[in-house]
Subunit: 229 residues, 2 copies
């Protein structure tokens, strides 16, 4: 991989801790252990939306996923509970390593961007509430492309906004599919193996892999200052 | 919906009971409650394969999903355990209502077909082991289209094989996304609300909805004999 000038971050699970919605899921579904299933339903729903040209917000699909699970467990889902979940989703805390790692990367001259499946307003609130909004030069929602990752369109949109060729960017994500999607348009990859995140597709993992963002940051910094700095 | 001449069935969950793989998941992951998550990982993986042009068999993706979950729970996955799961997946029992309902539909002159995300060999073994292989006039795997449902390609392939216009076919599935995919190419829909299956997308559900295949069959039969019979 060429030394990147721009680092594009995924948000949910990669920068922010999804465990922040666990308590709402517990209250709604009566079980502490439905977080992974809910997020997978959300992800699957987003790709079904792509496949069938039915784009709608990630938040809407997250409520549909909650509703499907409530039904499965024979529970009523009132709209205030759904609102509560969206609010929790928009208030996820950053993983503890994130703010310091982002600061280090900025000091080393990298431009930082965010590309998330969330809506524009949803991402803005997430970054603000997590206290990391001021670290990014650019925030891109899939909303404008009307296609969720890993469709090529949102990645291309991000590159266009950043004004860089794909070879100057690296995508940092805790999901293999997100990195595969980035690679498909020529963006480099860095995989954060958060607890529960595992590289499980046949494509080889990136050379940059780390337990947390700080570890990824150190590896990127070791590649030297970005060109032009 | 026009009176159909051909009924196209989804297989997993719709005709066959996924609970048949639960015991392997329990042995592998140490929990009785991972079935939904595993199947969702499998479905999500299939759509990521579509989005990134990395088609591979549904069985391969099912093993990747098991492997990701084993990792999440800190467990080793040996290949014999993976083989065991594929074997269990190929030996799922039919839901009890299925054989009689299929026979009723055949007696009423409908042509019956299967369109599944499984591989050709996988579907053939599933139908054989469930004792319902002889009920179908045609079995279509997404394999040949190299795209998983709900991409339009496999539905179009099935129509081509059946030699009928989309308006003469109805897709019977326990998944809303499967019916949305069928509708996108003009095929009618019938939704089986198996326990745990709920219509949870904004599109309206089909007019034909039932708890089991027998209920769906009765409603189709009430529409009269197919044209030409």
């Amino acid at each position: 991989m060429r030394r990147p000038t721009v680092i594009i971050f995924d948000v949910n699970e990669t920068l922010l801790d999804l465990a922040g919605v666990r308590s709402v899921l517990v209250e709604t579904l009566g079980s502490a252990d439905r977080l992974a299933e809910w997020f997978l339903r959300l992800l699957h729903g987003s790709l079904v939306a792509n496949e069938t040209d039915r784009f709608r917000s990630f938040e809407s699909i997250s409520v549909e996923a909650l509703s499907a699970m409530a039904h499965r467990f024979g529970l009523e889902l009132d709209s205030s509970r759904a609102d509560e979940m969206v609010a929790a989703f928009r208030s996820l805390p950053a993983h503890p390593d994130v703010p310091v790692a982002l600061d280090r990367l900025r000091r080393h001259g990298f431009r930082l961007a965010v590309l998330s499946n969330g809506s524009s307003i949803g991402i803005a609130m997430q970054l603000e509430n997590a206290g990391i909004a001021d670290r990014f030069d650019l925030v891109v929602s899939v909303e404008e492309a009307q296609r969720f990752k890993p469709d090529p369109a949102p990645y291309r949109l991000a590159l266009e906004r950043l004004g860089v060729p794909s070879g100057e960017a690296v995508m940092v994500a805790a999901h293999d599919w997100d990195i595969i999607g980035a690679r498909n348009v020529g963006i480099g990859g860095a995989f954060v193996s958060r607890p529960g995140s595992v590289w499980s597709v046949p494509d080889p993992p990136p050379t940059i892999v780390g337990d947390d963002i700080m570890s990824i940051a150190e590896q990127l910094i070791e590649m030297g200052f970005p060109p032009g700095q």
